[in-house]
Symmetry: C2
């Protein structure tokens, strides 16, 4: 490919709407173009990257006996009504009517379609286990698309679905897929991806894992215990902290706290540590608007996913009305006179001498003692885990919280979809059972962006050889020089004849211009032909990651480059 | 791949909803499953076929310097408002609102997205020409999906867009693409595909061609002149027939034709040949409901595409009200007292002694002479071309009309999209111009189904080697026989080691059952291992198309099969 024919523009200025490096570099490098909020078109370099990623995924899915199929993007709503998700999912599920008025949805995931495809086939035990997968466009009407390809509305995803006759069989297959995913990320150039336990969310099921690339720009928080290796997504990580119990319990005392509505204001005023306060966080259930008050230690936050999972229904931050009886800013568990669900977070279990609201304007209590004043209270885990928390596995006070991008996930779904959609099989004895499912997803574009996040410098991406848009970037310096141009043309032919993927820049532009374009394209091996080098009968061969740089005799250049490409490719091998 | 693990069911009975063979065979063979009207999921065999087709297309597009990109499935309506198609296209364009109430569309074609992607890049002449393409999901909310994959609502399409600075340059590239398409169809196994001139329809532009596979189940009609080789789609083919002019013109006479509303009834009653009648066909314009009456020879039909193109707006069959002044069933050009557009088809030019309506209930005229009675009439071509018509090129009365499936199309779009969407470039002199576009489409699933239509027998598809789901179908007869099973297992390994794609059937089923499954999968080469053959130390090697059948010594089988595969692959070469 001649660079001067490559469609797309490269430029220096960081676009103002790009908050993460991968986004900025991929816009600046002519990889992608904004079409609508969370919707992009890809130019050739990105399409070449995603095709290579797709092929790696395909090979690894085929290795674990996956069968590539294809499901529709547009599905009848009736299919999603069968599983109950047509009602259950919020407006991230795109719903519309076709020309005949039939309600349809855009596929954001394909559990329903997978069950529909194999419902009849899977009617007898001896056809199990099997796994089907596809690589296809998905649409999720995200409220807040962000960070370029990290969180979009339209994306290409590999989604796989396995079907089993026993939990043991699912677990065996799940383990295979777990390792296939490790291989995929290693082959795509991010072997540093870690696996964490996760919450299953809207997918249903119990056990699930997320593959996380740790990076400050990640939108997920991951609890990690460096002592025992425990890792979990915030939603799945149990928050354990030591109860703050003073030896002497003070009296419960009502104090005047005029115009102090936040726990910070009150604690400031009373010279109390927010850790010694009981904060109320108020939600409403989506379906009924019923109030739910969570009492939690003042310095902690509620993890809404944990709360949703506990309640079994969706919630939203409350709008507190006067009729509710709730006195916003002064809420406490004592003398709370309102119709609502009251929950206590485990963080306040056994605590005393707490500041909390008195349920009347401008008054708080001090000296609350949970055991004394609420001996019957039940405690559950609703808190966001924090650095310094106690590891739920090794019980050491060692938890650290890191940010990460979720590059893949695997779920043990159980029978959520097979049961609701009436899929069953007959066993050896002719008895009917419901098959058990697993599902396994990877977003292709997000993976590309994640690799870029992990491997770039200020000048551009540093693509791993396995997914680089091209393997070799050939630069002809001073291409007005006929001899240099002819030598570069020949090198272009020779490199291609050696089976290498080459992008060739013979534009009449300055070296600086040429190299900054090359940096933006991030091709791992660069070959520079120039009149000066030719005088010494050499080419410069350098790698984008700067680990290799040499002047190589012209006649040895192809062999050197070929070796270098093979070496760099070997770095993208899975164990 | 072991056949007993292949997800999908094969069965004998023709599904009642399948009207064409490819549909019936692909449902019976476990290739596809109905999800919703015009929406299907694919099982692994079809996905393997479509992947191979996609790769053939990709290679041929890359050969003519196409750059693979990707456009979104979901696009903002604003993009389609720029081109004017948001309003112009009927409800086959799927429109909906996203969670923020922004109007969106599902891509049915991507001219707008292509212009949006390159609008800035293409701002200077020296970047031209270039071509970008994608292979992606499209959705067209067809009123009448039919015939399985022949006409669906959701489909995978390769769509390509080229950009040029002159008509000559477009024409040169168009010719390249024309040949690339011939190569694609030859490589996919249907070199018999013919090219016809076509109408550009909603795409805009002037010159366009369709690639047609002639078959009785096709939904397009193609006019062919065996004398000169002229070929055109019905919409594009000019209908020319000899005027029927009697030597003596009769008087215009009003006759009583009680209760005779159709031209057949009237001609029967008056013992007139329908060819000697002037039939009125009444439409209304979609936008204004204004009436349009086309007068045409009684035995011919109006081609609505020709009429739409002439009017420059969409029409529908009329609902004739009393207020309109139109006397349904008795309409004629004489004494027509209604507000409407009156058009004459070229078929009645110079005709005399015609029967036509008298514009009053139960009366017709005889003896209408167009030249005498309507000396100022203008004539245009609105008629559907018929077998026996005059060839517009060689002028011989030799036109035949055949049915065909459109497997691809290419358009010279001109500046329809670039102009409306404000794309321009500066030439050498710094003057601004509008680039010229071409676009080029192939439906992947329809191509698969078309190949099946062209190559099947009553037992199943006969896939060309280039796109067959597997190259070799290995059958182990009487697999309960340990020796036979071991020999077949070894053959399975050996064939795969030779780089062949093998589907292996070692189920304990009857030969009849095994072969009917093999016929349905349509794999080109079949190898049969059986205890009886093994006694003679041979395998049976046969081709699905029955052109080859031999008993081959076991140790020579792999080499024989490999040769056969190569020979059959060579049949799918393009010139």
């Amino acid at each position: 490919m001649k660079l001067d024919k490559l469609v797309g523009e490269r430029f220096k200025e960081k676009p103002s709407d790009c908050v993460v490096d991968s986004h900025a570099l991929m816009v600046r490098g002519g990889y992608m173009k904004f079409v609508s909020n969370g919707i992009y078109s890809s130019y050739m370099p990105l399409r070449r990257i995603t095709k290579k990623i797709e092929n790696i995924i395909r090979e690894e899915m085929d290795r674990i006996d996956g069968q590539e199929v294809s499901f529709p993007v547009v599905m009848p709503a009736s299919l999603w009504e069968e599983s109950g998700r047509y009602q259950a999912i919020d407006n991230s599920l795109c719903r519309f009517k076709d020309r005949n008025g039939s309600p349809m949805v855009l596929g954001m995931t394909h559990e329903e379609a997978a069950v529909q495809l194999v419902r009849e086939y899977g009617n007898t035990y001896n056809r199990y286990p099997f796994m089907i997968y596809q690589i296809q466009t998905k649409f999720r009407d995200e409220a807040r698309p962000r960070a370029g390809l990290i969180r979009v509305r339209e994306f290409t995803m590999k989604d796989a679905y396995s079907f089993h006759t026993s939990q043991e069989d699912l677990e065996q297959y799940y383990a295979k897929c777990y390792h296939a995913y490790e291989r995929i990320f290693a082959r795509a150039g991010i072997p540093e991806t870690i696996v964490v336990e996760s919450d299953s969310g809207m997918m249903g099921g119990n056990i699930s894992h997320e593959y996380m690339l740790l990076t400050a720009i990640g939108e997920d928080s991951i609890a990690i215990c460096p002592e025992c290796g425990y890792r979990a997504n915030m939603e799945a990580a149990e928050s354990i902290i030591e109860p703050l119990h003073d030896d002497v319990s003070e009296e419960l005392t009502k104090v005047h706290t005029p115009e102090m509505h936040t726990i910070e204001e009150v604690c400031d005023f009373l010279k109390a540590d927010p850790k010694k306060s009981l904060k109320a966080v108020v939600y409403q259930k989506n379906m009924t608007d019923e109030y739910v008050i969570v009492f939690i230690r003042g310095d902690l936050d509620v993890n809404e996913t944990k709360l949703t999972n506990f309640l079994g229904e969706n919630i939203h931050p409350a709008v507190i009305t006067e009729e509710s009886g709730i006195v916003a800013g002064f809420i406490g568990p004592k003398n709370l006179n309102a119709e609502c669900t009251v929950l206590f977070d485990a963080s306040v279990k056994g605590c005393n001498n707490l500041v909390t609201g008195a349920n009347e304007p401008d008054y708080h209590y001090t000296g609350l003692d949970m055991d004394r004043d609420f001996p019957d209270a039940e405690y559950h885990d609703f808190a966001k885990i924090i650095t310094g928390g106690i590891c739920p596995v090794c019980k050491k006070k060692a938890i650290t919280v890191s940010r990460g991008i979720e590059v893949g996930n695997i779920f043990q779904l159980g029978t959520k979809y097979t049961k609701s959609m009436g899929m069953s099989y007959l066993d050896e004895k002719g008895e009917s059972h419901t098959p058990i499912m697993g599902c396994y997803g990877i977003g292709v574009g997000r993976l590309a962006a994640s690799v870029c996040e992990a491997h770039h410098d200020e000048y551009g991406p540093i693509w791993p050889m396995s997914i680089a848009p091209w393997q070799v970037h050939l630069c002809c310096m001073k291409s007005a020089d006929e001899e240099a141009h002819a030598a570069a043309d020949k090198m272009y032919e020779d490199l291609q004849d050696a089976g290498l993927e080459v992008i060739y820049d013979d534009r009449k532009v300055s070296a600086g211009f040429m190299f900054s374009d090359a940096d933006l394209l991030g091709v791992p091996v660069r070959v520079i032909v120039s009149p000066r080098n030719l005088k010494e009968n050499v080419c410069e061969v350098v790698t984008r990651d700067k680990t290799y740089s040499a002047k190589v005799p012209v006649e040895e250049t192809v062999a050197t480059v070929k070796n270098l490409v093979n070496e760099l490719m070997a770095k993208c091998k899975a164990e």
